[in-house]
Subunit: 207 residues, 2 copies
């Protein structure tokens, strides 16, 4: 069985739990909340030198890190990842945008405002550029979703799951979501796909 | 013929020119240096709403943005992208690491120190966390390259080309490269692969 190491409150981890739910795949779950020390342990660093969650362990013990790499691995051969080279490139394009322009602004600002451990970063100097960068990323999504119901066209893909992770909670980062009607309609669309689970859903812990 | 819009001095753009050189693929080149205004033009924004380089135009006019999405598209079916699902996942893992942890620290710090337009960002408050984050990213690469000659194992892949883009010029960002002997040996390995071109190599401009 697959084993997923994930952080309950993290959008990067939630993405993977969400795809596993859509696919109906069973897995053992090992949770490590922010501040729990899991990712700092020598045992975990031996599995992932980057010290980050999520981390997927395959049945044979091999490991995959980076949320979007895990999504692409799990989605291969399913309806969430097209086979066509160009359609797949559009998925990749949105997923690299997610890690470079979206997560680094939207998730980072939400984390500063949510986690007490980051309270010292709540200065205009830190928060203002993140607000501007996050709104810019949301505007790029909005422009696409004004044209097509899903980010890469007329079907949901792994790119939508990837971007959903931190977009659905962007309001906790102070982002002005009513400005983005097409994004809000798309968020509703994702949440009504069969198999959907909210961020708060966690499978039983592996022993 | 393929058309590549690229920024001559940018590592993100160079990655794509480097893979095209390794593959021996001909292409038309349209350059836009930082500050040239190309990416702010309405004409370019119609092609890429994110306003970023590189951008690849296929023969039929379809477009792919995001350097690593372009690399994966071009590498498909070549020796630079394994077919095996797990080996491909390792390429993706390193490439998402590149866009989230490496480019956002190493390239950003080098850009602040290199481009006069960013001189106002040369403050300890901005530069110090970037130095720390970049050294952390380089340490993760070093640990892997102490174990295997290439990032994903015993053969060069698109992941190596992706990480080469900003690692080979990391010293311009003030990163202490002598601390990373395995990275330095790997940089030499990339530079002696058949077909290699330096960042300064640009094909003739398309008219």
């Amino acid at each position: 069985m697959l084993t997923l190491y994930s952080m309950p409150s993290s959008g990067n981890s939630y993405k993977v739990r969400l795809l596993l739910a859509f696919l109906g795949l069973p897995y053992a779950h090992i949770g490590g909340e922010y501040g729990s020390g899991l990712t700092d342990s020598a045992e975990f660093r031996a599995l992932n030198p980057a010290g980050k969650l999520p981390l997927l362990k395959l049945e044979d013990g091999r490991l995959i890190a980076e949320s979007n790499a895990i999504l692409l691995y799990l989605a291969r051969g399913t309806r969430f990842l097209p086979d066509d080279a160009f359609e797949q490139a559009l998925c990749h394009q949105w997923m690299f945008f997610e890690q470079n322009s979206h997560e680094t602004t939207i998730a980072v600002r939400a984390a500063i405002l949510s986690y007490p451990q980051r309270a010292h970063l709540r200065t205009p100097d830190k928060l203002d550029p993140l607000l501007e960068g996050g709104h810019r990323a949301l505007s790029i999504m909005e422009a696409q979703l004004q044209k097509t119901p899903w980010l890469t066209g007329d079907k949901p893909t792994v790119a939508d799951i990837s971007l959903y992770g931190y977009t659905h909670s962007a309001h906790t980062g102070g982002f002005d979501m009513p400005r983005f009607p097409a994004i809000n309609a798309w968020l509703d669309r994702v949440a009504t796909e069969p198999g959907y689970v909210p961020l708060s859903f966690l499978p039983d812990e592996a022993s």
